[in-house]
Each structure stands twice: as C-alpha cells, then as structure tokens.
C-alpha cells in the first residue's frame, strides 16, 4: 500500500514537471494605426453639420520611405491596400524604428499623402509573446486633394485597435 502511494507521488511530480512545456503566444501582437473615413454634410436648413461614416469605392495605399541616396521619399513596392472596394476603415503599420511615417493614399482617383509623426516605445507582453512597439501620435499632416481634414481622436496606437484618426471627406 505504502509503495503504491510512493509511486503515485513520484508520478504526480513527473507529470507536474512535464507540464512546464512550451506555450504559444495567445495575445494580439498586431499594432496598427486605425483611420476611419467620415463625410461632412450640412443639414437642409444649413445650420447643422452632420458627420457620417463614409465608404470609399476604391482605395489603394502604399508606404513612402525616405531614401538617403535621392534625399527624398520613394514608394515602397509592397502595397498595403490594392484597389480595395467599399472601405470605410483603414489599418496601417507605423514605422517601428523611425518617428515619422508617410503613406500615399489613392481615394478613387485622387491621391493624398498623409504624414504621421509619432513617438515609439516598447511594450512587454509576456515571455511567450515578447515585446511590441506601441506609438503615441504627435501630429498628422495631409494634402487636400480628396481629404478635407484629418483629426486625432486617440493618440495611443497599441494592440487594442481603437480608432486613432478620423479622415473627413
């Protein structure tokens, strides 16, 4: 009886020891800037401004990276949105190791350049997931071919995927 008890104890210890195996990351590690499109219209009487979510027929987004050889910005080969249809929300990656990120966004046939200035910091998630870069948006600049204005609603860009910027048409 005692030997059975002793063996069962050893087995429990062995099982408990073997349970400390590799674990996979189960947390969200995607950190992207979230922009939503809004349309500004005036009421029939003209004294009230109405802001409604807006869906664009066609959207193409490319990153613009600084090229030290030409001392200017050039388009990246990789396309983030390629003629995507009926888009009202845009998720874009900010530069993790630079403090300014530029995108060329084609709204239907009109091109605008959006420049986001941001601070970067490391956020530790866990031993399984490691670290991610999170951002705090300082300012946003845009050209005005399609875009009327852009406003920061939440400067913190992290894994929560909360809305950060509203783009008004």
């Amino acid at each position: 009886m005692k030997i059975h008890f002793f063996i069962s104890v050893i087995l429990i210890i062995l099982i408990a020891n073997s349970c400390n195996g590799d674990e996979q990351c189960r947390k969200n590690k995607v950190v992207q800037l979230n922009m939503n499109l809004y349309q500004v219209t005036k009421s029939i009487t003209g004294d009230t401004i109405i802001k409604n979510p807006y869906s664009i027929d066609s959207l193409t987004v490319k990153g613009l990276r600084y090229d030290s050889l030409t001392a200017g910005y050039i388009l990246k080969d990789s396309i983030l949105y390629n003629n995507s249809k009926s888009v009202s929300s845009i998720n874009l990656p900010l530069q993790k190791f630079k403090t300014q990120t530029k995108f060329e966004i084609t709204f239907n046939n009109l091109k605008d350049t959006i420049t986001v200035s941001h601070n970067n910091s490391d956020q530790y998630l866990s031993l399984e997931c490691g670290c991610v870069k999170v951002f705090k948006i300082d300012s946003i600049k845009t050209t005005h071919h399609f875009v009327d204005s852009a406003h920061i609603t939440n400067p913190i860009v992290d894994t929560s995927n909360a809305q950060n910027i509203i783009i008004y048409k």
Partner: protein, 238 residues
C-alpha cells in the same frame, strides 16, 4: 481559469471554517488533556528536490520549514527556500532569475480526536500562507521586427529588482511513518497579491511561487522530523 481558482479557494476556505466550527461544537476530548505546546516539526519538501534533480534546464528549488504544534490543532509554519529558474520560450526569449523566498502561515488539523480512543499523531491539515520573494531577473532576446518597413531590434531587460507577495491556500495529509518521522503530501493554490502594470516587464516565474501565467497549483511532498519537547519534559519530571 481565475474563476475556477477563486471557486476552489473559496471552497477550501469554507471547508476550513466549517471544520473548525464542527470541532468547537464536538468537544469530544477534554481540553486540558492536550498540552498547549506539543513540539516542533522540522521539515523539507522532497517534491521540489526531486523536480530539481530531474530538471534538464539546470533549474532548482529547495525549501525547508519549521512548524510548531499547538494543542495538536494549530500549526504556525515558517518556510524558507532558494530557487534558480531558467526558461526559454518557443520564440527563443530567455528568462533567468534566482533568489530566496519565505512563507509564513498557519495550518489547522481537521482530525478531531475521538473520545476514549488513542490520540492519533496523523494530521489532515488545511491552511493559509503568505509568501514573499525579493529577486532580480533578466529577460533577453525579445526581438521586435518591422515586417513592412524593415529592420529589427533586440530588447533586453537586465537586473530588474522586484519584490513579489502572494498567498497560498493548502490542504494535505501527514502520517507518522516511524516514531517522530512524518511524511505526507499537500496541494496548494497560489495567487499573486501585487501585479505589474500592463506593458512593463513582468517576471515569468517567481522563486517559491512558480509560473505567473496559467494555473498556479503547487504540490509538496513533505518529509519531517518532530522534536517532541513535551514528552522529553514529562520524562525528565518522572
């Protein structure tokens, strides 16, 4: 998982409270027949020693304790240990720490002595402990890569000093196998009292506590020796 742990903790606490209440009402043995001070248990944890011996990562944890037997019912306990932990995640991030840990608590013997029967030395103990560890830890090789814009960087956190507090609720048995030599096992549920702020580095494992992610169940296989001071005093008087 946290809810299950909370439920089990509450269940063990209820068990503890009801059993103590039951003992009060029963009063099956004359109070005066059990001396207040029954001796001191010196004990060690064989489970952590065996785990340390078979660890392939060079991890170890050793602990020993001292427990006082008061009226064969209340067992205040002090435990001290030392642990070294090396872990590497599936994404190749490494974690190292080593340090001392201490636990202080009290256990209650739920075995009520039956009237007109020989007093048993065996114990069924439930109890609570508060644990503490002050230690340094390192997290190395956390790689952040920028898949779209390019580039990567390695993040290392070195020599971060923290003090962690936790509480444990335990239940187990202890049997006197030969005179004054006790063996037994116990299981415990552990919960951290102080947590780190989100985004800050956190220790993956704490000496004396174990992994901070997932379930925090502990298992002990205690081997101890009872210094029966009361019997020795009685023998001298005779």
């Amino acid at each position: 998982m946290r809810k299950i742990s909370l439920f089990i903790n509450s269940y063990i606490l209820c068990l503890l409270v009801f059993s103590v209440q039951a003992q009060k009402t029963a009063k099956v043995l004359e109070v005066d027949s059990i001396p207040f001070f029954n001796g001191i248990h010196l004990q060690g944890d064989a489970a952590s020693a065996i785990s340390s011996a078979i660890s392939t990562k060079g991890n170890y944890s050793y602990e020993a304790g001292i427990q006082v037997d008061l009226k064969h019912k209340y067992f205040p306990v002090l435990e001290v240990g030392y642990a070294k932990i090396n872990e590497t995640s599936s994404s190749n991030i490494s974690y190292q720490t080593q340090g001392l840990f201490e636990r202080l608590g009290i256990e209650f013997n739920l075995i009520s002595p039956k009237k007109d029967s020989k007093r048993t030395t065996n114990l069924f103990l439930v109890g609570v402990r508060v644990g503490m560890s002050n230690f340094n830890y390192n997290i190395n090789n956390a790689i952040i890569a920028d898949n779209y814009w390019g580039g990567s960087e390695t993040v290392n956190y070195s020599d971060i000093l923290v003090t962690k507090l936790w509480y444990e609720i335990s239940a187990g048995v202890r049997v006197e196998i030969i005179k004054n030599i006790f063996m037994g096992w116990s299981v415990c549920s552990k919960s951290l009292i102080n947590q780190d702020a989100t985004g800050n580095p956190t220790p993956a494992s704490i000496p004396g506590f174990g992994n901070t992610s997932g379930s925090n169940w502990g298992f002990k296989y205690t081997i101890g020796y009872k210094i029966d001071i009361h019997s020795k005093i009685l023998n001298k008087k005779k």
